[in-house]
Amino acid sequence: MSMLAKALTAAFGEELMLDTRQLPSTVVCCTLPREKFAEAAKILKKAYALLAAEWAVDETPFGRGFAVCACFRWGREYLIVKSELSADDPSFPSLTKKFLPAYRFERQMQSLMGVTPMGHPDMRPWIKFEDWPQDAYPLRKSFDATKSMPRVAGDYQWARAEGEGVYEIPVGPVHAGIIEPGHFRFQAVGEMIVNLEERLGYVHKGTEKRFEALSWKDGAKLAGRVSGDTTVAHSIAYSMAVESMTGCRVPERAHWLRAIFLERERIANHLGDIGAICNDAAFAFMLYQCSRLRELVLRMNNRLFGHRFIMDKVFPGGVGVDIDNSGRSDMQAELEALSSDFEKLVVIYDENASLEDRVRETGILKPEQARELCVVGIVARASGMNLDCRIFNPFPPYDQYDRIELDVPVKITGDVHARTYVRVEEVRESIRIIRYILENLPEGPIVIAPGIPESDTSGFAAVEGWRGEIIYWLQAGPAGEINRCMVRDPSSLNWLGLEQAIPGNIVPDFPLCNKSFNQSYSGHDL
């Protein structure tokens, strides 16, 4: 039994029930009475667990009420704590005082599902804007998602800093660059930022609700559009969650091809980011050089796999496109050229003193803050946390530790430079992994019938996208349809990290810091 499950069993004994409807069986799901929900979190915190996600489910189609779930992670273990709530009193004890990221998860649960976190310090709605009808809870089964909602009057209450010389800068939702919309409000004194408050939710498209109207097959398409820059990783995570429910054993070759797609997506996005970070420090040379390399990667994707971002090529049961011998040698030649050009650029980055002056000691997220906020992915690794699903929750070929020898770069300074350099080293690793895969790609089919999930089972998957760990939790309804699809993009955790990294920096450094985080708005707002 896992460490976390042991800790809970020791504390709760008989009260704790294991839920066998949760798949895969490596992910333990413990059900507890709702009064014990926060107590369990306290015990898990003492066992060094991190909070990975928290969400609510409407289980009325099964004749039950609501349920709240919290997913904890410690090393290789994932553990879900679930409590059922009655339909007429859907409240539960808040986890926010134990785990900071619960702060937004719970505001979101309250806003979209109408379950009340008791003892939560800040009950302003999240994602649900003030002009929504108060009683609109879109994730509830009783809510008709096809109808448009009327607008009502209301105001959002902002956090305010007061004092002589304090002023406020509102930014967004429509930003200056070609980026997604979101609102940032700075309180500043002179050039120094005292506080940053984010307000997100502008690109809320009802994605989670939309899943419930789709078939399991079409769900993969929507998963590929949760965050367009991470289309591969999202569709792999969704597919693996479905496969865990049906017990479908995906062919080895399909897994390996997924890994190629995943690493190519990582390379393309990291190249774009490294260029854009340097550009925000006024070093446009790197932007143009890196975008050139990125474009070459995307063109190769298009030529070999039929789409520049490899969208819609991963679905439950396998993958939709194979690679032949000539494709393999083309890609090897491409990686050779990419690697050589990339290393030249890295030397230029390293030797540029004025760039160094901007990126070092800017936008620091301290390791202890990172841990408190349970951040994931690049942001976590730049702040001293050794987290990577490719190691801790691997699918083939990543599970061949001794042969693939994946090196996870970890930095401890937590500044813009650390986040850039984690990317640099990951690009190198990804190139190496793709080469390994190309040399050792097993033969065989690339797709099998995925099967249909059984009613009232739930599936779970975590995949390391280029931003970090992506989690999908799926539940099959009474007729075997999608009853709930919970999507946890890394951004849901990492946006909190940005808010903490900004105070103390000067206003003109914000774009630079923001770019070094580069979190998804669409993946967060859903």
């Binding site: 609109a136 660059g177 070609i178 690109v203 498209k205 367009g228 820059d229 040379f285 050139r292």
Partner: protein, 175 residues
């Protein structure tokens, strides 16, 4: 510094002529297009990009038309930070309910002729997200659209083509 210069010279100019099909199209619109950009837009077309609810896929490809392969600036096309300076809005969608007001305000802040190009399948008709409590569907549900560029996401060439089509239609819009 010497490394930077060496890398620049070694890379050379990677900007490509457009493929024959697109090139031909541009030639066809040729004189009218040139006239339009030179006369009505004073040699440069300024675009404000608005994400009204997209998944960020279209944004990546809009970025790509600025890279050195497509180099949209060679046609006098460039992106601005403010709608006040914009001749054209390049809008990706679907229009999220939470973005509707911001999109309308951006449109109202744009001076005439306010060319609007709807980008992507979602921008054209709502795509995978359709119409729901949170998504209003295509861009034309909220503001008038001149040109539609379908694709998920549209390729950089399709985007360039869409922009040039809108410019080509500009003299008609003024009438």
């Amino acid at each position: 510094m010497i490394r930077i210069l060496r890398q620049i010279f070694r890379t050379g100019i990677v900007t490509e002529p457009l493929p024959p099909a697109v090139e031909e199209e541009i030639r066809q619109t040729g004189s009218r297009l040139e006239e339009a950009i030179i006369k009505h837009f004073r040699r440069s077309l300024t675009i404000r990009q608005v994400d009204a609810g997209s998944c960020n896929g279209c944004e990546l490809e809009i970025h790509a038309i600025n890279n050195s392969f497509y180099n949209c600036e060679r046609f006098g096309v460039h992106f601005t930070a403010s709608p006040r300076f914009a001749d054209m809005l390049l809008v990706t969608g679907p229009v999220a309910r939470n973005m509707e007001i911001a999109l309308r305000r951006t449109y109202n802040a744009t001076p005439t002729p306010k060319l609007v190009v709807a980008v992507g399948d979602c921008g054209c008709n709502g795509g995978m997200f359709g119409e729901s409590y949170a998504s209003l569907g295509g861009i034309d549900k909220v503001i008038p659209v001149d040109v539609y560029v379908p694709g998920c996401p549209p390729t950089p060439l399709a985007l360039l083509n869409g922009i040039l089509t809108a410019v080509d239609g500009y003299p008609d819009k003024r009438k």
